[in-house]
Each structure stands twice: as structure tokens, then as C-alpha cells.
Amino acid sequence: MSTTTGSAGTRRVNVAAARRRQALADGWKEFARNRAGLAGLIILLAVIALAAVIPLFAPASVLDVTQVTAGRNEPPSLANPLGTDPAGRSVLALLIWGARISLVVGFAATLVSMVIGTVMGMAAGHFTGATQAVLMRLIDFFLVVPGLVLAIVLSSIIGPGIATIVVAIGVTSWAGTARLVRSQTLTVEARPYIERAWALGASDAHVIGRHVLPAVMPLVLANTTLTVGSAIIAESTLAFLGLGDPSSVSWGGMLKSALDTGAATGGYWWYVLPPGLAIVLVVLSFTLVGRALESVINPTLRGR
């Protein structure tokens, strides 16, 4: 489409790719100017790296309650910097292993939510008549219905587990995205180049796939980072309510066992504080990154 052939030889210059690179570089510059967003990004990368390399330092066997060497509920010491849990496992090892589940569930649930939200939002903005009316009703419904209660209902029927939590969070949290995507779709489709596409005989699929989707993607991505944060909170809440996988370690699951074993009332603060602080740190980082991305995409929001 936008390739030119130079006179000297056949060097092809892809203008579109160059422009895209330039836009990315500009976006990054704008993002880097937001110090809070940058700090959030660094923290997130550090947490993800830590969660990725933890098996090298603390193999999965440290999570096995039959292989513990330390006593139960030991306060922090040199050997166990954050003490031990009611089964004698190192809280620090649990915390970092827990990051894996919390992050994976957070990302997976967000992916489900984003896919549903983007598809529904684009469809509700693109189509008219009965299709639109039905989709709007559906979006409205999921926007209003208490998400946690619906997630509880869904996961208690399907049975506890990681996949259940992912589905439950994904299915109950997409409406906000759909609403945002829909309004963006309406804006995009009012532009003249869409009319040109129609005039050239474009199909619905072509307009949505080639024109609307690329235009709403930046917005969706900024929204994604914000959603991962709330998905992680939702994950910990559902795990805390006993809907998580009891055999795997997650931050919410740790807090649940802290409550169940009386760690919270027994004064074992080293088992109650770290998982919560970890959630706050990670969710806050996602929120800061999301807000910074939002201001890159939408210049009117800058300085908020």
C-alpha cells in the first residue's frame, strides 16, 4: 500500500512500518514522562522476573508440607526471612510461588474479559436494529449486576479450581470494556474513511477487522492493565471465600489459610501482612501503568 521503489536499486521503504515505529517511540517517550507509571512498570517487571526464576532458587518441593524442616508458625529469622506458615513452610517462598498463580489468573481472566468485551463492544457499536438492542441490554445487565455475587454463583456450581476462577472473573467483568469499546467504535465509524470502505464494497467483517479493531486496540490495551489489577483482587477474594484450588499456592489462598488456622487472631502477623501487601503492590503498579497508558492514548487525560 505504502511502499515506494527508489530510483537507485530496488530498496523498498515501508512507510507505514516506519510511521508505526515513530508512533511507538513517541508513545514510549510520553509514557516515560509519567514517573508513577514508570515506577509501576519497573515493579511489575521485577515481580514477574522473580516469579519466573523462583524454581531455580526454591524448587517446588519447598511447598510440600511433608518435606518441611522448620517448625510451625516460626517468626521471621535469617533462615526464613518472613517466618513460616502453620505447616512450617517458608512464607517468603510461598509468597513468590503465590505470585505465579495470582499473576497467571489475573492475566488469563483479563484476556477472557477483554476478548468478550471487545467483541461485544464492537458488535454493539457496529450493528444496528435488533442485534444492537439485544447486545446493549446484555451489556447493561452485566454492567449493573453485582459481579462478585455472580462470580460466586458461577464458581460454586462449576466447582472450585483455577480455571473456574478465570472463567468466573472473565464472564463477570467484561461489561465496562464493552461500553468503552462501543463508544470508540461509534466514533471511528463516523469517520470518512469508513464511508470510503463501504463505498468500495467492504463487508461487515472487513470494516470491523481491518478498520475498527486496530482503532480500538490501544484503548483496550490501556484498559487491560487496569483490569488485570481488579482481576487480581477478584482472584484473591474468590480464593479467600474458598473457591480457589486448595492444592496450589496463591495470595488469596494464603490469606484464607491464615484465617482458617487462626494466624490472624494468633498474632502471626508475618503470615497475614505479606500476601496482602503483595496484592496491594502489584495491583497499584498495574493501576499506575494503566493510567499512564491511558494518558498516552488520550491526550486530554494528561496530568490526571
Binding site: P146, G147, V153, I169, T237, T265, L273
Partner: protein, 346 residues
Amino acid sequence: MSNALSAADLVPGEPALDEPPRASSWLRYAALKAGGAVVSLIMVVLLGFFAFRILPGDPVRSLAEGRRVSAEQMELLREQLGFNDPLLTQFLRYLTDLAQGRLGYSYTYSEPVLNLILDRLGPTLLLTGTAALISVVLGLWLGQRAAWRRGSLFDKTQTGLALVFWSVPTFWLGLILLLVFGGGLHWFPTGGLVTAGTTATGFPLLWDVARHMVLPVVTMVAVVYAQYLMVMRASLFEEMTSDYLQTARAKGLREDLVRRRHAVPNALLPTVTLIFLTLGGLVGGAVTVETVFSWPGLGLLTFQALSAPDFPLLQGTFVVFSSIVIVMNFLADLLYRFLDPRLRAA
């Protein structure tokens, strides 16, 4: 679990979902909104039925989990609970029961679900109502102060604090407060609505309830007010560059009056809609807060139904919780129409 923190929710010029043209009459608007609410209510009723029957997973098996139940006993249970009837028969029975106000029979309490819910409704409304009121007032007030002094130390600390509180899982904050103020310092009771076995009436009873409310209300407010602060702040930013504020200043109005009489009322309108959209989130907060503080409300009942598991009870709390939120949202839509003078005149 929607994300009200996103400032993009307030993008100017975005029409609200299915907002009719401004000129349409009040009655038509109310009818449209009522129709929407009724459709949502029907969807709740349908979901309440089909979720428990169509999704993979066997309610009877979950019920028998961890207990020694023979296949014959499970079959008997299925028969008793009506799971063996054709789906259509079950559905019709569910609808007729619902129309007569029957929400089923709780396995664990051996009591009609409706009675259980009615008993618990009051405490939940008391808790969430108080928390919502405080959060809205606090969030809006701090939000407009922060926006007006944009970039100041006040703005930075308030925004930072709000973002941190928003990232805190409600139940964990509750646990910490319980640990420090209930368990450690013994300033407040750690759970329940009143002191167990109390015979107090009148003012001492109110005082007792108020003391029990402090920790749960503080927990809910801390997590909820942040969204209102951020939304109000973003919404006031939208107004701050408007020409009419310049006019107000040119008239010689004091800065304080410009803010209170001109900017804030306009910034409040879009905020009101978003506040009501977060009502569902408030209900979610009620579930965890009531669980942590053993507050005898609908949230705790939901948790108990979930841990039993007691599916008729869970179905009942889902239907009631969702209906309350839908009706509140409908009222909010009407209120919004009334609050906006441009729409009221039409």
C-alpha cells in the same frame, strides 16, 4: 467488578447507553428505563434458574461431597429436590413459586429461603447504606478539593492515598483492622451486630450497634471512597477549562463561589451516573466485609450458602441482591433525569 477508576469513563461527549434524544418526553424516558430494568430483572430470574441446572457440575454431588452418601441416597435426594423432573416442569415450578414470593427451601437451615433473606436484609442495608453515604460524601468532597488545587500537595497525597486504598483487597483490610483494633487494642468488638446475649433496648442498644458498625463501615468506606474521589476529580477537570467559569470570575465572584456554585454542580452530573454503576461493587464488598466481621447480613448469608453449599439459598441471595441493585439503578436513572435541568425542562 467493573473498573470505575478509569478516567476514560468520563470522555466528554460520550452518550450514555441508550439515552433517548433530549427532546423526548419524561414519560417516554421513564418507560424506556423501566423496560430496561424489567428485562434485566427477567434475566436475573432466568440466570438464577438456569445457572444452577445447566452448568457442568452436579448440585447433589457437591452437597454430598465429603460425606458418606450412597448412590441410592443421592438418587433419593435428587428426587426430593425435584432434579429428576423435566427441565420445563422445574422451570414452571420455579416461576410459580417466585410469583408467590417463594424462593425455595434452604437445605442447611431447614427454613424457607425468603424468611432467611428477610431476616438478614436490614443489617445489610444498614451497613452498606451507611458506608455508601460516608464514601460518597467523603469521596466527592475530597475529589473536588483535589481537582481545584490540581498539582498541589493536597491533590497529590489525596490521589496517591485513593489509588493505594483502591488497590487493597477489602477482606484483607478488614482482617488487619480486626487484628489491630479488635484483637490488639480492644477498642471495638470484633464481630456481630450486637453484643451476644445483650438485653439492652433503646439508646444503649443503638450505642452497641454503632460500636459494632465502626470497623466494618471503615473497611468498606476505605475501599469504596477512592473511586468516587477519582471520578469527581476527573469530572471537575473536565469543567475547569470551560468558558462559563471565566465568565463567573469576570463577574467578580470569589474563587470559592465559582467552585461551589458553578463548577461543582456541573461536574456532579456525570459523577452521579458512575456512582450508581458502582452499586454492584458495593454489594460485593458487603459479602467480604460481612464475612470477615460476622455481620449477620445478606453477604454473610451468601458466604454461608456458598460454603455449605446450599444452592437454593445461594440462588435466593443472588436473585435478591441483583434485583436490589437493578431497582436502585432504575431509580438513579430517574433521579439523573430530574437532576439535569436541561433534561428536566424537556
